[in-house]
Symmetry: C2
């Protein structure tokens, strides 16, 4: 049996309550299930009771080992980002609850996922985006038949989406089902290797961080691992939410810099900030890596030279991984979250400068 | 033990001979292995003896069942097309043979795969392309560090690549290792379902068709299936090579039409044409479906409304599948070969007309 549970005050709600946040203390909820290792030993995430899964074949992404790095190719999900895993469950829930229209806010990838899974489920979708979101991503959202509404900033897009009452808000920044979809990444990593020590994790709204942590903590609760790996958060220069809470390591990031390349990491309104901070302490994060465009651009170039076509925001994670591998003398798991196929086809600065040099 | 074998005159060569074609009769070669079902029952393709696999995590793509269709999501390979499976083996061979540079000709996707796997292997790559190849695809080839050389037409690009002696020609249109990589799709389909009856297969140079056929024929040889499924070739309007050999079914394709949308299907110089024709007869193809832009555009729109972000050339396959499902009253396997993430971000006609309507 799954229930919705408040990780702050412990209150439990029916799984199919419509809330994202705790009616008592306002904290964003999480799902809680009775855990068990399935007979036969195969470990697969449980679809919450009574939910018919809306699926496009997400998950079971490849891992590629290169030197000190174990890359998890999350950009090979159906619409090109790890967000598909979350959208699959969020949209399944919206459908189950009987809604005909969903609302999301996004810098791009989550909007694409929401649009695709809504199309698959026969739901209408409206996505609020910042005006400087990559135009290619907006074309993809529209290609799936969703409506795009433009706002001044990423934060403004979030505020407008939350107050739009014409459909069910499936905002990934707060929807507990979204995180439940993400946590499968931990189970898949566990199925590949049992000796994971350090994972670097890009943090915008924290769904990947909290999903990975939830998965590893459940694996520990099941007695399958002794310790949760160290999870090290990665943020974009100029958009750090964690620097007041954790020691910051700056990689090519001066005080006044603001990343242009890491467009997926520019959210600053983060409903789950408390959970991320507490989670980072539980996961023994020694610091947060805050990465600037020069480090991102160089890491991006390097990833393409390894044959891995990711988006710039994912290169921030690799830039941090290179620092961590050296600093802690350890192997590092690197989730590569978003596809470069959405980006590189469209000429853009400063991307082209890093990828193609002076052309 | 693997060898190279001529499917026309039967001559056998050492696996690591440098030829693509038969020294006696000129026919493009194929690989031949002693087949066996591995102990434990898991069925996985054998890496040819002595080859160290250059991999980016290709293969094991998802299947999605929707009504009469079983979609195989080949666009979720690492660089967004099924060509990655072939390039993995072709580049592994070039590396094993000691070359430092490879040459390819391509309308886009195979060039992207060659560029990525060459980058991964530390080889230089030069790709000959037609001047009207999608610019977004050319940017991706360059992003992996490969050189792009532009020709007037797709056929001209092929001729120039073949005569370039500055590196090892890994042209997918003729390289036998390429097809060996593709054939795994059959094994994966078999692992999902045992009752496959009809598969629609887009044909340009025929690597997908011949790879699938080789896989199914080997499964039959191993006694795992009784019959090879019916394979129905799909071509683009104005670029049919099979119409003299098979009955043609035209879908929105008049005599003088030439497809603009199906840019991946415009090759007309096809070294393996004899093998495709003979294979189509062995696979009991009742006809070839020749698909025009109107049918492609409408099928593309429909695929996006199902949440499947493919490229236009893949929509040609779905258009054919819809005809076949009705005509033969059967379920149809539909390989979706290439990603729309490379396309849709870039504004283009006539794509936009079909995808977005009059905007």
């Amino acid at each position: 049996m799954h229930v919705l549970r408040c990780p702050r005050c412990g209150i439990e709600l029916d799984l199919l309550a419509k809330q994202h946040t705790c009616p008592r203390c306002g904290e964003p909820l999480l799902l809680k299930a009775e855990l068990r290792v399935p007979e036969g030993g195969g470990l697969e995430s449980l679809v919450p009771d009574g939910l018919k899964l809306v699926t496009l074949g997400e998950g079971r992404t490849p891992t590629v080992e290169l030197g000190n790095y174990l890359f998890k190719l999350e950009f090979l999900n159906p619409t090109g980002s790890f967000k598909d895993r979350g959208a699959s469950l969020s949209i399944s829930r919206a459908l189950k609850l009987g809604f005909r229209m969903v609302i999301e806010d996004s810098s791009g990838n989550a909007g694409i996922s929401t649009a695709a899974y809504s199309a698959r489920a026969g739901l209408k979708a409206r996505v609020y985006v910042p005006k400087d979101a990559p135009q290619g991503k907006l074309r993809l959202i529209r290609a799936f038949g969703a409506e795009v509404v433009t706002s001044e900033t990423r934060d403004e897009a979030h505020k407008r989406a939350v107050s739009d009452t014409s459909g069910f808000y499936v905002g990934h920044v707060v929807d507990p089902f979204f995180i439940e979809g993400i946590k499968d990444i931990s189970l898949e990593l566990y199925s590949v290797r049992r000796d994971l020590e350090v994972v670097v994790v890009p943090v915008a709204s924290g769904t990947l961080f909290l999903g990975l942590l939830k998965g590893f903590e459940e694996l520990r609760e099941l007695g399958l691992i002794d310790e949760v790996p160290t999870l090290i958060p990665v943020e974009a220069c100029g958009y750090s939410k964690l620097r007041g809470y954790l020691r910051s390591v700056y990689l090519e990031c001066a005080e006044s810099d603001k990343s242009l390349l890491a467009d997926a990491l520019r959210l600053t309104i983060v409903p789950r900030l408390r959970q991320i901070v507490e989670g980072a302490l539980r996961a023994k994060a020694p610091y947060v890596a805050v990465v600037g465009d020069r480090a991102i651009g160089e890491a991006l170039k390097e990833l393409y030279s390894l044959g891995l076509p990711v988006e710039p925001s994912s290169a921030a994670t690799y830039a941090a991984a290179k620092y961590v591998a050296k600093d802690l003398s350890t192997r590092v798991v690197v989730p590569l979250t978003g596809s470069g196929l959405k980006y590189v086809p469209v000429p853009s600065e400063p991307l082209d400068r890093y990828l193609f040099g002076a052309q």
